[in-house]
């Protein structure tokens, strides 16, 4: 078994514009994903929107610089994640395909293998 991170990217404005009915369907799809994946879900959260992010970095001289906003300022933002345990890429792809963000044209799910440290 190996671990994979599912990174859910999309247009936050489109997520915010969902009607209550769309929101319910969306949440139900995440519920269905969680049930299908069962114990293979090691964790996962929906993130607050990118404008609420704070980025901390060094200035190269040992001082900290704290800035408002995400590290990458893009139209498509990271909206949430799941940490999954799966046998291989085919299995995790099959699970990821259950996520509603895969169906909407403004969003997608990036699958990243997690480094195995033994």
């Amino acid at each position: 078994m190996a671990k994979y991170m599912l990174l859910i990217y999309g247009d936050a404005a489109r997520w915010d514009a969902m009607t209550p009915a769309e929101r319910n369907a969306h949440d139900a799809a995440h519920q269905a994903f969680s049930e299908a994946a069962g114990a293979r879900v090691l964790g996962g959260e929906e993130l607050e929107s990118a404008p609420t992010a704070t980025t901390v970095r060094g200035d190269g001289a040992g001082e900290l610089i704290t800035t408002d906003g995400p590290f990458l300022d893009t139209k498509e933002a990271l909206g949430g994640f799941y940490l999954i345990e799966a046998a291989d890429l085919d299995e995790v792809t099959r699970l990821a395909a259950l996520l509603p963000e895969v169906r909407a044209e403004h969003s997608a799910v990036e699958i990243r293998p997690v480094v195995f440290h033994g």
């Binding site: 046998a87 291989d88 890429l89 085919d90 792809t93 099959r94 699958i111 293998p113 195995f116």
Partner: protein, 413 residues
């Protein structure tokens, strides 16, 4: 070294490379090591067969040698190898029942996994399944050998790290995955059919590899109509390969080819496969393209070709594949044959503003031919010059240069 041994090794290379590598990979669970051991087994064959003769079953001999070598390496490097990511090859997910669990299929589906980029899929398939050297693969795609080597290494690393499984996909993923494999096979064939650059018109090593792959897929998946259709398409095109060059080494257009040199056996085989594929609905893109090739193959001469049927088939293809300006171009060329050069020129008109075709030599060449046939010499000269500037294949360039000279002659005369 005697010629018979060299020929036997070359023939085993064509026939057995994929099987030897695929079976060895099952043992090593590491594509790099499997590739190394396979290469080594073929090198051994050249030496050993010269001494003790060609074995009765060369494939089995090669597999044995490759696997023995793999076992040695695995034993010697056991400690180091424990830290490497291994191919995932467990068989807990049973494959679809009408599929033979064949090692070569595992290898093909792994090399053509959609998690790999298209260029990487083609490169890996040529290297690991067809056994072309990295230098040969690089030459086919006009990149430096070091670039191709890096591309292949990166792809193998992704297979191991992201755990792309060494397995025939399960039924729910099979459709998409077969499609990805066929796309790779088709691309290899078209690259071989007219080399993008260089002195040769055809790269028979590439088209031959594509035909062998399509035959293997058809053997292992006899009920997949898309596979049958692709094999039909390749065979119907391959049947004409010999006649595409004249004895003088010059390009022969379809209209000029000696049809008695077409391979009747391949045409019969392709037509029969196509008939089977068309019995199931809806036909795939490859079935329509094969049907177009079949209309040409069955026409007694260029003049007697059923252009109405060809236009109709391109219309179906365009409906299936609305985004492809190349299909529209081919349809326009067929309209020009059915209704005359002016009608062809009119059908090409909207394509002149198509950005995807801005550097597509066949658009300029098709236009040039219609203008030539209309006697519009000045415009034809410009169009031939344009086509020449966009063409990299030297045999095609020689043909275009000859036509350009001919129309220039009319201009001054």
């Amino acid at each position: 070294m005697n010629d018979a041994v060299v020929a036997a090794v070359a023939s085993a290379h064509r026939r057995d490379w994929a099987q030897v590598l695929a079976t060895t990979a099952q043992l090593t669970r590491d594509l790099d090591l499997a590739e190394e051991c396979t290469q080594d087994a073929f090198a051994q064959a050249l030496l050993v067969w010269a001494d003790s003769g060609v074995p009765d079953r060369p494939g089995a001999w090669l597999t044995q040698v490759a696997r023995n070598r793999a076992r040695d390496v695995l034993r010697r490097e056991a400690a180091f190898r424990r830290t490497l990511p291994l191919l995932v090859s467990d068989e807990t997910v049973p494959g679809p029942e009408d599929l033979i669990a064949d090692d070569r299929l595992r290898l093909i589906f792994t090399c053509c996994h959609p998690g790999l980029g298209r260029e990487a899929r083609v490169a890996l398939t040529l290297r690991l399944v067809c056994g072309l050297s990295t230098a040969e693969v690089a030459r086919a795609f006009l990149v430096p050998e070091s670039t191709m080597a890096a591309r292949i290494t990166r792809a193998k690393r992704k297979i191991a790290t992201a755990r792309i499984p060494y397995r025939v996909p399960s039924a729910d993923q099979l459709g998409e995955r077969v499609g990805a494999v066929l796309q790779v096979v088709h691309l290899i064939f078209t690259t071989g059919h007219t080399a993008p650059a260089g002195p040769e018109l055809l790269r028979r090593d590439l088209s031959g590899c594509a035909v062998r792959l399509a035959r293997l897929l058809h053997l292992l998946m006899p009920n997949d109509t898309e596979v049958s259709a692709l094999l039909a398409l390749l065979l119907l095109n391959e049947a004409r390969a010999e006649s595409r060059l004249g004895p003088d080494g010059r390009l022969r257009l379809l209209s000029e080819q000696d049809r008695s040199r077409w391979d009747a056996a391949l045409i019969a085989e392709g037509t029969a496969l196509l008939a089977g594929a068309l019995r199931r609905r809806p036909p795939s893109r490859y079935a329509i393209e094969a049907a177009i090739a079949a209309v040409h193959a069955e026409a007694p001469s260029w003049a007697e070709t059923d252009w109405g049927e060809i236009v109709a088939l391109y219309t179906v293809l365009r409906r299936m594949w609305p985004g492809s300006p190349v299909v529209t171009l081919n349809r326009a060329a067929a309209i020009g044959m059915r209704d005359g050069p002016q009608a062809g020129l009119d059908a090409l008109e909207p394509l002149l503003r198509e950005p995807a075709l801005a550097t597509y030599a066949y658009l300029s060449a098709t236009r040039a031919d219609f203008l030539r046939r209309l006697g519009r010499w000045a415009a034809a000269v410009t169009a031939y010059e344009e086509a020449l500037a966009l063409t990299g294949n030297e045999v095609e360039r020689a043909f275009l240069a000859e036509r350009l000279d001919e129309v220039r002659g009319h201009l001054t005369g």
